[in-house]
Amino acid sequence: MRARRALLLLAIAAAQFALFEIALRTWGHSEAAPSFQALFMPDPVVGYRLRPNARTRFVTAEFETDIAINAQGVRDDRDIGPKPAGERRIVVLGDSLVLSVQVELRQTFCRLLEEDLNRGGGPVRYRVINAGVQGYGPVEELLFFREIARRFEPDLVITTIFVGNDAEEAVISAPKLRGAARPATEAISDSTSSRLRRLVRRSMVLQLIRLRIVSVTDRYRNWIAPPEPPLQSYAEHPAPRIAEGLAISRDCVRAIVDEAGAAGARSLIVLMPARFQVDDADYGRLKEAVESTGGHLVRDAATARFDEALSSIPAPRFDALPPLRASLPGPDVFFQQTVHLTPRGHEIVATALAAFIREQGL
């Protein structure tokens, strides 16, 4: 009797697993979806990067986009060959805010910047290369520049800093600077754990359950050692690792500027704000959340901290916050369910950045 009940329970669990898997694959597209994960491949130096020639259609409740990676491993619909005469190349390094899977390629600020710079005509043709990769921070951007983007023969290298989390990510990724990068799949053997890992990656249900387990274990760690308030980059009195992350970020950006300079390219640093720095309602919610954990949120602290940390680097800095703020009131510049720019946000950044590049004579 018990065995029959257990079998029935297993059968129901398996049937529902299949139903949830189908439902999630049909309607629940997210970055956990296998099709999206297929955009990435392991890299022995950076950890991972975009897979050359990968393509996918990314569908969420808020947007639908086609993503194509070119043969060189950046989001572009054209290959990058030797630089023709009269072409001025701009390489934009950064994270998901640069890659921008939430909008079509033609709507990204990189492509809009290219169009804006070329609008006046003239003998020089600009080509802006979107070298952003989801999840990158200053450390990965430096390594990616050395490994891949330097070969694109840039005349101008734009390093985009997301002030919201780049300091924290720099601390986490710092070991990669010492050659410690180990892509998740590098050491794949036919061990049980690696087979299990591959299985989990292929199933959206299992991926979500894995995320829940990670969340619970994080909470367990937080219970052992009480959690600190979130958004430390914006904290009135941030944790010591923020200063450490700012220093690592500064060293990475300086290395990019120096190495680009050695190759004859100029540099520009772009500071990209978090959504709540622009969106008052989002700020209200986060302020409340941070205060509920005993912290105090200073709205523009991360921008000011990066601005100061990078001030010693001999490259102009462009802060995207003022033009984004100046666009209000008006349609949203950030998506509601992600922290990424809407097409309007991309337009605003591209227009202001183009004006800055002209003004600086870059």
């Binding site: 009940r5 029935l8 329970l9 129901i12 669990a13 529902q16 697993f17 949830f20 999630l24 409740a61 808020e62 249900v205 979500l208 359950i209 829940r212 969340s215 619970v216 909470r219 367990y220 219970w223 008052d280 309602a281 700020y283 209200g284 919610r285 409340e288 509920s292 509601q336 369910q337």
Partner: protein, 487 residues
């Protein structure tokens, strides 16, 4: 320590293991005494996990009311008994008034003085609110009143009484238990049946579903509309209010279910606190189905003490208004809660003449669903009542009186249906409420909140497994404390 924390999981596993072990190693009566000591220590630890400094208040309230109960039991003269009862009530109400309402009255007094041109910066004391104080003071007050009314005999055992007050499943957010219901269960050895285990586990799972899947996922949707500075059109305000209606229901009913479930596992039955409150047709029925332990407390100890419906229609209306105003204030020291209480009182008064007309419909509350079909009138009555309840939640959740005005203005003056936020509000609202409503309607159809563990095995397992999948796949594991802790 919240129910949805690992701290509670470890705490409960340890306490429960010891609780079940004791009867196995000790004779019945000694095991029973040891279990009560265990429950007392565990409950005080549970409370100390919030803030150990307020343990003295809990212990003080327990000792004062235990002593008053003993004295009341030994006295015969009614005049003296009344004084003792008022002594106890005065102690509890002073404690509640000071810790819960001092800041509110001080701030309003200061504002009043400032309006008159006087500086009132002498009011600088900031009083912390001890968690659960509204619940345990009501529990102890009901005990003393019941002893005074000779409805129960005073207990002679301080440990039993302390467990009754501090019993951890109901300590910080109810249900507000009566001595008549809980004390006898504490005083006698307990046996735990297989049915209690089955029902307890289901209630815990369902409570977590209501909290983690429903309430914590709907919270950001409600915040999206209610956060100061948010400028939503009427249609989106309406969706935000719906989200809050199900958030607060999921949150509070979830807590009550986890409390009932954990208590069932220990062989102690707690009262049902919610019974399909959004399916009712009148405000009176709403208060018989929403936070039942509070509304019955207010009815038995406040409304009836004020005279209830004896003494004519005008006095009944006055009593209803006073009861609901104080009920609103019980929820929190803010004018929005006072206004919410007033609103509920007015609704009760307005519906009063039609209560008998609604009575037949109300009895068939759950039958308006297919296949029994339903009259248009019943559906209209439900629709109106549900939206009146939702407007009450708008008042309740609004961050200020000014916000109530602006949200109401959006709702009625700028509805703009074309601006409906499908992806940000409507779709997630449906995703997180439809599974709740499906089970809710199954329970309502059977008029039994514990029907699921009694369904056919295939159906039961399907619901169990779906509940667990929904919690694990879509639950918000970074959720907050339960809303009612602040009350």
């Amino acid at each position: 320590m919240v129910f949805n924390s690992l701290h509670f999981l470890w705490f409960f596993l340890v306490v429960y293991a010891l609780y079940r072990l004791l009867p196995a190693v000790l004779p019945v009566e000694r095991a029973h005494r040891a279990q009560n000591w265990l429950l007392l220590v565990a409950s005080y630890y549970f409370y100390a996990a919030w803030d150990y400094r307020f343990l003295a208040l809990l212990a003080g309230s327990t000792i004062v009311d235990y002593t008053c109960g003993r004295i009341l039991g030994s006295l015969q003269e009614q005049r003296v008994r009344r004084r003792v009862m008022w002594l106890s009530l005065g102690f509890n109400l002073s404690m509640l008034g000071f810790f819960k309402y001092f800041n509110f009255f001080a701030d309003n007094l200061a504002a009043l003085f400032a309006a008159a041109g006087w500086h009132a910066d002498f009011v600088t004391l900031r009083v912390l609110l001890p968690i659960g104080i509204s619940f345990y003071t009501f529990v102890t007050m009901s005990y003393v009143i019941d002893v005074y009314r000779r409805e129960i005999a005073p207990t002679r055992n301080l440990v039993d009484f302390a467990v009754f007050v501090a019993y951890f499943p109901h300590l910080v957010a109810g249900p507000i238990l009566r001595a008549t219901a809980l004390l006898p269960q504490i005083q006698r050895p307990r046996r735990i049946s297989a049915e209690q285990m089955r029902e307890g586990l289901w209630l815990i799972a369902w409570g977590f579903f209501q909290k983690i899947f429903v309430a914590d996922n709907l919270a950001p949707l409600a915040s999206h509309v209610f956060t100061p500075g948010a400028q939503a059109t009427g249609v989106n305000v309406l969706l935000g209010v719906y989200a809050f209606a199900f958030q607060i229901y999921g949150d509070f009913a979830g807590y009550s279910n986890i409390a009932r479930g954990t208590s069932k596992l220990m062989g102690i039955e707690l009262i049902e606190n919610f019974r399909f409150p959004y399916l009712v047709l009148t405000p009176q029925a709403f208060w018989r189905h929403w936070h039942i332990s509070l509304s019955t407390w207010l009815r038995d100890y406040l409304y009836i003490s004020l005279g209830g419906n004896r003494g004519g229609e005008a006095r009944t209306r006055r009593n209803l208004l006073i009861t609901m105003l104080l009920g609103g204030l019980w929820h929190g020291a803010a004018w929005t809660f006072v206004l919410w209480g007033l609103y509920q009182g007015v609704l009760l008064i307005l519906y009063r003449p039609y209560e008998s007309a609604f009575a037949t419909l109300q009895e068939r509350r759950v039958s308006w669903l297919p296949p029994s079909g339903g009259s248009v009138l019943r559906v209209v009555a439900w629709f109106v009542m549900f939206h009146l309840t939702c407007y009450g939640w708008l008042i309740f959740r609004a961050p200020s009186l000014h916000a109530i005005g602006s949200l109401t203005a959006s709702l009625f003056g700028n509805f703009a249906p074309r601006t409906i936020d499908v992806t940000g509000l409507l779709a997630p609202l449906l995703l997180y409420t439809v599974p709740l409503l499906v089970v809710h309607l199954v329970e309502a159809h059977a008029d039994d909140v514990l029907i699921v563990p009694r369904l056919r095995i295939g159906v039961r397992y399907t619901i169990y497994v779906a509940t667990l999948y929904l919690i694990f796949l879509f639950g918000n594991f970074g959720g907050s404390d339960f809303i009612y802790f602040q009350f």
